[in-house]
Symmetry: C2
Subunit: 175 residues, 2 copies
DNA sequence: GTCAATCTATCTATTGATAGGTAGCGATAA
DNA sequence: TTATCGCTACCTATCAATAGATAGATTGAC
């Protein structure tokens, strides 16, 4: 049985990934758990605090799963694609950071900084796994291309309501 | 001198591309033009109507500029990249449809349908310009990859606050 | 008795939306 | 010529709903 905080984070992540930061309210979240909005404020003083906790947890889970997958597959790039693909298909939602990244300066600065850190870590992780025969600048470029494509593909696939769009767009990355 | 409706559309596009649909209010827009929110409702009965007018205008302008650029450059793919690049760098904002596409089912259905139509037209345009020696399915796939990458690259570049991220990510598309 | 976890109740601000009024202009009929 | 009609482009005033947030009471386990 998960705790109230965990349920709160799960629900918030789900709703924000579905509709965006501003379309989700403490009352929504509370109602989904059968509690009152004041109780949400007990765990997260401000909405901003909830957002930051959310992105931090998301990043940790993401990299844990990624490391696991990379070891299992022995193909880092395929691992990244698989993790993104699973994030999309298991929930029919885009990446939490993809949503918050799009909302840009519509969300608190501390939150968008956290989102940017996620992307940077993601890029660095990929760049690090590419063959060292490639220059550092080129590895960085390829990593940026990879993340851009995967994030864009999630958005495109949900907008067009077809997961196959993601699969097809991601396929190019393996060439 | 532009009319009030045009100023309204310009302001709304700018603000929505910056912060998202839900973070923009009729009062914001009205205040920016020095009028009252009731006057915005005079031109657009509901917020949804404004959104739809916005996406339609955006799409028309986008394809007009794209056709022009394609003729000028004689390289359709480069033209697409240039138009996206200009959309990003001239305003430091992501694509209107990129933002609304991310917000997914947080926006009215009629609006997200319009956004999806923009993406589909975009994909079809690119697929049409690729060499006919490539199969239709493969052309479609490459077109989807292209849009996904460009949309993702805009988001990534604004999140990381560095336009060069867009340029580097987009560079792979020309190979 | 203490403390975590919840509640009730309430505040202020903002939202999308509506009803109804008004100023100014061009067309038109007396 | 002038009165007035109708229209556009705004306005004031207001609504109900919802937002984030806070103060302070209650409950129950240890």
């Amino acid at each position: 049985m998960s705790t109230t905080v965990e349920k709160l984070l799960d629900q918030a992540e789900s709703e924000i990934r579905e509709r965006g930061y501003h379309a989700v309210s403490f009352r929504d979240l509370a109602a989904s758990l059968g509690i009152k909005s004041a109780s949400v404020h007990y765990y997260f003083r401000q909405k901003e605090d909830l957002g930051i906790a959310l992105v931090k947890r998301y990043g940790e889970q993401f990299f844990n799963i990624l490391e696991e997958k990379a070891e299992e597959l022995d193909n880092p790039l395929q691992a990244v694609i698989d993790v993104y693909r699973n994030a999309l298909t298991s929930s029919d939602r885009i990446c939490l950071c993809g949503m918050l990244g799009a909302e840009g300066c519509g969300i608190p600065k501390t939150l968008s900084d956290e989102v940017a850190a996620f992307f940077q870590a993601n890029i660095d992780w990929i760049a690090e796994t590419l063959p060292k025969t490639i220059s550092a600048a080129e590895r960085k470029r390829q990593a940026e291309h990879c993340i851009a494509t995967l994030q864009g593909a999630m958005m495109l696939a949900t907008s067009l309501n077809d997961h196959k769009v993601f699969d097809r767009a991601a396929k190019s990355l393996l060439k």
